[in-house]
Every structure is written in structure tokens, then in C-alpha cells.
Subunit: 204 residues, 2 copies
């Protein structure tokens, strides 16, 4: 955890406090494990600060429910009961976005992704959350389901004080350039290399 003195002090007219509290656009990319895990770890910190958290999972399958969802929803319930921490909303594409009234049959993936992004834009415009976790959001951008330039422009010009973390492999270079913090999770070694499948508690 870096907490030393910055290497350079920018000539941007901001005080250290203003600069310190600047809202961040963060990207976790690369082919290694830990991109989503670290994003949900960040949500833990945010909950502890009492921030309002919105999680948006761009996954195709509705069946998949990860442990973090259960825990963060439990923490959200705790917030509602006792006021501890912050509220958390969890939405995912595969089960039909939770803000839509009718879920019905599974929509076309591309349309569902576009609809998810449209809702996130509305929320950013109205400053709805303090931390947005856009999990696996690089994929709909790669597949052309969501326009990268629109994402970059929207995130760059988002109002107020809203942190955003985007996860997924092969983040677009335009997104990386727009970001404040980029970590590449690099795969060095994984049990799947030697024939082991993913396991409960570790992968989900």
C-alpha cells in the first residue's frame, strides 16, 4: 500500500487534500487472477467508509453467483439494519439487469450490455453511487457491444466525486490512457496449467 511521498508535485493549482481526494478511474486488466477479486476487495474498503456502492457485472451467465455477491449483499443488509458501512446494489447482466421490471427470456447479449451501460451513464449523470464496480466490462467493449469512445468520454467527464473500477482482460488503450490507476494482473502460474480445475472459495 503506497503511502510515501509522491515523486513529483504537480503544478495544477490544487491543494494536497484536493488532489488526494480526486475521484479515480481504475483499471484491473491482464491475463492473471485477481482482477475482480481486488475490485471486490476495494468495495470492502468503500463499504467501511460508508460509501454508496454499485456493482455491475457484465457476465453472460445468470447461473453464476460468486461469494462476493452474497457477502456484499449481507453487508448491504447490515447497513440497512444498523447504519454500519454503506449501501450496496448488485446488478448483473446474465440474470436480466435488476432495475428492469420484466426479466422474461434472456435478452440478446449485445442489447443487454448496451442497456447496462445506458443505465450506468444515467447513474453517473445523477451521481448515484460513490464507487462503481464495472466487472468484466472490457469484454462488451472488445466485442463492439458498447462504444469505447463513449465510455472514455463519459467516464472522463463524469460529474462530482465518483470512483470507478473496470475489470477484464485486454483493456482498450484509450481506456488505459484515460485512467488514473492501472494494474495489470499478470499470470505467472495457475493450477489450470497443470490440469486442476477452479474450486469453490478460491475462484468464486
Amino acid at each position: 500500500m503506497p503511502r510515501g511521498t509522491p515523486l513529483v508535485v504537480p503544478d495544477d493549482g490544487l491543494t494536497t487534500r484536493q488532489r488526494r481526494n480526486r475521484p479515480l478511474l481504475m483499471i484491473h486488466t491482464g491475463n492473471g487472477k485477481g482482477k475482480s477479486t481486488a475490485a471486490f476487495g476495494l468495495a470492502l474498503r468503500a463499504w467501511n467508509q460508508g460509501w454508496d456502492i454499485g456493482v455491475f457485472q457484465f457476465v453472460k451467465s445468470a447461473k453464476w453467483r460468486i461469494g462476493e455477491q452474497t457477502v456484499l449483499e449481507r453487508l448491504a443488509a447490515l447497513n440497512a439494519e444498523t447504519g454500519e458501512g454503506g449501501p450496496v446494489e448488485w446488478h448483473k447482466m446474465g440474470s436480466g439487469w435488476s432495475w428492469r421490471r420484466k426479466s422474461g427470456t434472456e435478452a440478446d447479449h449485445a442489447a443487454a450490455a448496451a442497456e447496462g451501460w445506458a443505465e450506468i451513464k444515467r447513474r453517473l449523470a445523477s451521481e448515484r453511487h460513490q464507487l462503481y464496480v464495472l466487472d468484466e466490462f472490457t469484454y462488451p467493449m472488445q466485442w463492439g457491444w458498447v462504444d469505447v469512445d463513449d465510455v472514455v468520454e463519459t467516464l472522463t467527464n463524469r460529474p462530482g466525486h465518483q470512483h470507478v473500477v473496470v475489470t477484464g482482460r485486454r483493456a482498450d488503450q484509450r481506456l488505459i490512457e484515460a485512467a488514473d490507476l492501472v494494474t495489470e494482473m499478470h499470470h505467472v502460474k495457475h493450477p489450470m496449467d497443470v490440469g486442476q480445475k477452479g474450486q469453490r472459495g478460491i475462484e468464486w
Copy 2:
């Protein structure tokens, strides 16, 4: 989250289920952000599985308390009250390891690290936890406070079904060779590069 078919099926006489549930030694290393964050994210998943979790933070300062500690201790209290999730113990070096009766004045860092490792060895031998988070444990190894060969041998031969995750920069090559899963968090871009300090909710 990888859940496809492994590239190779090993000839180790194990069934897929046995292989899938093999206990893992995981390393999060590299110079980027997310090593500890992903390890605590893993602890979330483990809690949700009802696993017994032991966190051991090898940090020098006692003053530093990260949000994850507050949240995981809250989840541990929830487990004690309602039986949801699993138990969590959180120990850190800087404040004097919590299993020691007297904390007194701050001990010599090297002795404190060695003592922490000795306790972890005892717990591994008695199969005390199901997930061990050894946070920033690469540093006492680098500084010669804890013997790398002893760590590798102990972790390689640990009994039962105990997962271990070690975080910190510059993980020793012997440890990497012994590990099942290694991710290198590579620094691409960080706000500190442009003079911004760490901030609440993001760095802790």
C-alpha cells in the same frame, strides 16, 4: 474467473474432484496495486464458504488499520452471532501479535517477524485454519528475518487441507516454484506517478 477445461489432464492418479479440491499455495507479487486487496477479496469468498480464516499482517506499524480488518472482524462477529459464514482471526505484527499476552513496548521487528512465523508454523501443524492470509510476508523473508527455505519446506509439507496466500513484492524464486498459483500485479499507472497521494477508501 477461469472455469473452462484444463489444457492438460495430469497423470497423477487423482480424480477430478480430488484434484479440484487440492489445497493451494497462492502468491500475489509484483510492484502494482491489488496484491493485498485481492487476498482480502479471497478471504470474502472463504468466509462465504464458512471457512476458518487466519490473517497475519507482517507490517511494521501498529497505527495502520485497514478497512478490510474492520469489515472482516465485523463478518467474524456475524459468524459468532448467527453462524453465517466462517470465523476470522486477525493478527498483526506492528501492534504486538494478538496471541501474545503482554504487548509492552514494541519488540525488535526481526524478532517479532520470527515469532509470527513460528506461530503460523504451529497453526499449520495443528491444521488450525482453512485459509491463511500472510500479508506482506515477502518482506521479512527478503530482510532475512524469516528463513525462506524453512517457509518453503513448511508450506510444501503442510498437512490436511489448508489454503495459503502470501502477498508482497519480490517474492523469492523458491517460493514461486513451490506455489500453485502466482499472479504478478504489474504497475502500469498510479496516481502517485502524477503527484497524488493515497486516499481513504482506495488505499486502505
